[in-house]
């Protein structure tokens, strides 16, 4: 049996629309310094021996974007590897690196400056194939619009419920010090915001965000050197759906269901509806919050609309942080969710702390209309 892996420290920059004053190296450095301060970890033989970065060549407009990160991740004459996928995958890989026996102490730092390129939709447009789906004008926002339509048909969710999700997110966001630009929204404001990909309105979409997030992962036998309050990674799981959206039932949650099934099995969870004290899902668009909850098997299939109406998100402690909807870069979505979940389990969430939180679920999503999902189940030590 492989050894357990603990999250010993979590650090984030604030998430803002335009951190124009900093290069992304500077954002990552802020995260590293915080982790070092919290744990006293260094880059000696007994310290961090592997750094995992999360970034993307197109977002950074830089081939080998992690080249820029070597210095600030302490990887000179050391090891650095870049997750070029949903940020939460760094947790999955860090877990494997430690469980394999190859590493003991692993640093994770993800960064993204969505404000740098002219439009993040121009970036996600490039994820489509050049022959068919690009010429028809798809990007992740347009793809989400198609999925939102399909989900609305299935669940009956409408403009008012979607607005409720956004308003609640904004109320949570103002309690989160990492979101200095958050402000409370009203139902009226949300429902009057312009339509960007019917039924998605401008305020249903997460804001353009810059920021960085990091964690220190340590092998079970060495956790005590760095913290008294580790958070264990109990189980991970992910799944890829097919590429062409026409090949999928967009409201079926195929990949998410499978990812959840794998993660629950590894974590030993048999009743997901009751297992979690904290749930952080990557809701890049409002409709996704109830839809992903269905896919995770926490609420029944097709019942997301009712769940929203019955104040389900509050009862289930979903996205107490404000969620992706309140602002975190697309690329880092799931890693920020995992960070927020771990902060709760560590009892370091300040004004937004949920009492006695023991088990948490963090979720990340990538690709058009949720082509890829990744999940981590975390537990207080």
């Amino acid at each position: 049996m492989a050894r357990k892996v603990g999250i010993c420290a979590i650090a984030q920059t604030t998430y803002e629309k335009n951190k124009w004053g900093a290069r992304f190296q500077e954002m990552a450095l802020e995260v590293l310094e915080s982790i070092q301060q919290q744990t006293g970890v260094d880059f000696s033989e007994t310290g961090i021996t592997m750094s995992i970065s999360v970034s993307d060549d197109v977002f950074d407009a830089r081939t080998i974007s992690d080249n820029a990160m070597t210095d600030v991740l302490g990887a000179h004459l050391g090891c650095e590897e870049k997750i070029a996928q949903e940020g939460i995958q760094a947790l999955y890989y860090g877990l494997a690196a430690i469980q394999s026996g190859h590493e003991d102490v692993v640093l994770i730092v993800g960064h993204c400056k969505e404000s740098q390129g002219k439009s993040r939709n121009m970036v996600t447009h490039l994820a489509f194939d050049p022959f068919f789906t690009r010429p028809v004008g798809l990007d992740f926002c347009a793809a989400a619009g198609l999925q939102a339509q399909a989900y609305a048909m299935k669940s009956g969710i409408g403009d008012e419920e979607l607005a409720r999700i956004v308003v609640r997110s904004s109320e949570n966001a103002v309690k989160n010090p990492m979101l200095p630009e958050a402000k409370k929204l009203t139902m009226k404001e949300v429902m009057a915001s312009p339509m960007i990909a019917d039924p998605i309105r401008a305020l249903h979409a997460y804001p353009v965000s810059d920021g960085a997030v990091g964690m220190l992962l340590v092998a079970e036998d060495r956790v005590k050197e760095f913290t008294d309050t580790p958070v264990w990674i109990k189980g991970v799981g992910n799944c890829m759906d097919s590429f062409f959206m026409g090949d999928r039932n967009l409201a079926s949650n195929f990949a998410l269901k499978k990812a959840a099934q794998i993660a629950y099995k590894r974590a030993g969870i048999d009743n997901p509806g009751k297992a979690f004290d904290i749930i952080e899902v990557s809701d890049q668009y409002a409709y996704q919050q109830p839809m992903w909850m269905e896919g995770l098997g926490i609420i029944d299939d097709g019942k997301g609309n009712e769940w929203i109406k019955k104040d389900g998100p509050q009862k289930n402690n979903v996205n107490i942080s404000g969620g992706t909807l309140a602002g975190s870069p697309l690329l880092l979505g799931g890693l920020v969710r995992a960070a927020e979940a771990a902060i709760q389990l560590k009892g370091e969430a300040g004004d937004r702390q949920v009492a006695n939180a023991k088990t948490a679920l963090a979720h990340g999503v990538m690709g058009p209309a949720g082509q890829f999902h990744s999940i981590a189940v975390l537990e207080r030590g």
Binding site: I64, T70, A84, Y92, Y93, A96, Q99, F243, P368
Partner: protein, 393 residues
């Protein structure tokens, strides 16, 4: 360091490497290698738990291409991971797959390195690697004449130029035995003088003949836990260990004095923890990521921790030939084929094929019990692998 469990390579698949693959799109090209690897290992896609993918996005201008490539990789309904580290990507993917299996998370993992360089501008893509604030207009892709100048200064013009050309011609002779290789020029040793003088100069004494190609191609490797590997494969190539060593973002290597290369640093670490005190005798062959024949020549000394001119002598005496004392790149190496995101994986894959005894026409005639493979990228980064014929632990 002891691994949680042993991991073996049970299959290798390579597409044909070429600068003309217009007859296939990206997922189709990848699919060629996927099918070849499945056939080699004798398993089916159903046996694969997880698919690992990597390349460099700006070469083809596709954002997170694993999404589209699902059509060719077979990752539908499976776990996946995408990791990239520039030129070392392919070798990093092997490290990733090794760790995914060793950890116990998966029993069978398929790793895919690919690049379709003709769909973008390679040198422009590499130039994009430089910091946009100060370095982009100075960089010429991965081209530099510095190593040539250093080798010439150390060993004299005639000896240095002849050794680098002999190295190049040996690589071409190896490539002639490898039908996957992109450039198979049919060079002869008596052309050395002529080529050293007349091949067009790129930067300083780095000439076109010395430099690697720009290829389209995909390489796929399949990894399995000890239990599954033994079940599927008569002779897996076992992954004993790997070391990744980066250098800082800015080169900081120009001028005096000499500095420790990431290659030597990685070798020292790898040898140290695997009881290798005499690499030339304890290791049977080496697949090296040699982006140019100048670098190939120079790096033999670094990887094998040699001093003086013994690396030059190895070339002059033909020791590095496929039937020599210490064969290097029987596949033809990177000067013959360079689909960047796959290139470093091809090194590990070719070393694995030598151990498995499946290298075909370019199989080394002597037994291969322990093999080394290297990846290179970024600002002088190294990923170094040690593979064995016997189960490591």
């Amino acid at each position: 360091m002891k691994k949680n469990r042993n991991v073996g390579v049970i299959g290798v698949g390579q597409s044909k490497y070429s600068s003309h693959r217009e007859e296939v799109n990206q997922p189709e090209m990848i699919h060629e290698a996927v099918v070849a690897a499945l056939n080699h290992s004798g398993i089916t896609l159903d046996d694969v738990d997880c698919i690992v993918h990597g390349n460099m996005e700006l070469f083809e201008m596709v954002h997170q291409p694993d999404l589209w490539h699902t059509l060719g990789t077979g990752s539908y309904g499976k776990e996946t991971l995408r990791v990239t580290t520039g030129g070392t990507t392919g070798a990093t993917l092997v490290a990733v797959a090794d760790q995914l299996v060793a950890s116990g998370l998966h029993d069978v993992v398929m790793a895919i390195g690919f690049e379709k360089l003709q769909e973008g501008h390679t040198t422009g893509g590499i130039t994009n690697m430089a910091d946009p604030l100060w370095a982009r207009q100075l960089q010429t892709g991965a081209l530099t004449g510095m190593t040539a100048a250093d080798v010439i200064e150390e060993f004299g013009e005639q000896r240095a130029k002849m050794a680098s050309m002999k190295y190049r011609i040996i690589m071409d002779k190896h490539a002639m035995k490898n039908d996957k290789a992109h450039r198979r020029l049919g060079l002869e040793f008596d052309q050395a003088e002529d080529l050293a003088k007349n091949s067009p100069a790129l930067v300083g004494e780095l000439r076109m003949i010395h430099m690697c190609s720009q290829s389209d191609g995909a390489c796929v490797m399949i990894f399995a836990s000890e239990e599954k590997a033994k079940q599927f494969c008569k002779q897996p190539a076992w992954i004993k260990d790997h070391v990744t060593v980066h250098r800082e973002e800015s080169f900081c290597i120009f001028g005096e004095p000499d500095y420790v290369t990431s290659h030597r640093y990685a070798a020292e670490k790898l040898f140290g923890r695997n009881g290798i005190t005499d690499p030339l005798n304890q290791i049977d062959m080496f697949e090296m990521y040699d982006p140019s024949s100048w670098w190939g020549l120079d790096w033999i000394r670094e990887f094998l921790m040699l001093e003086g001119d013994s690396h030059i002598k190895m070339i002059e005496n033909g020791d590095i030939c496929i039937d020599g004392k210490f064969p290097i790149n029987p596949s033809g190496g990177v000067t013959a084929s360079n689909p960047i995101g796959a290139t470093a994986m091809v090194r590990v894959a070719e070393a694995a094929l030598q151990i498995m005894g499946d290298a075909g026409e370019h199989q080394i005639p002597k037994p291969v019990n322990q093999a080394m493979a290297s990846g290179f990228g970024g600002t002088m980064w190294t990923v170094l692998f040690l593979l064995t014929k016997d189960v490591p632990w």
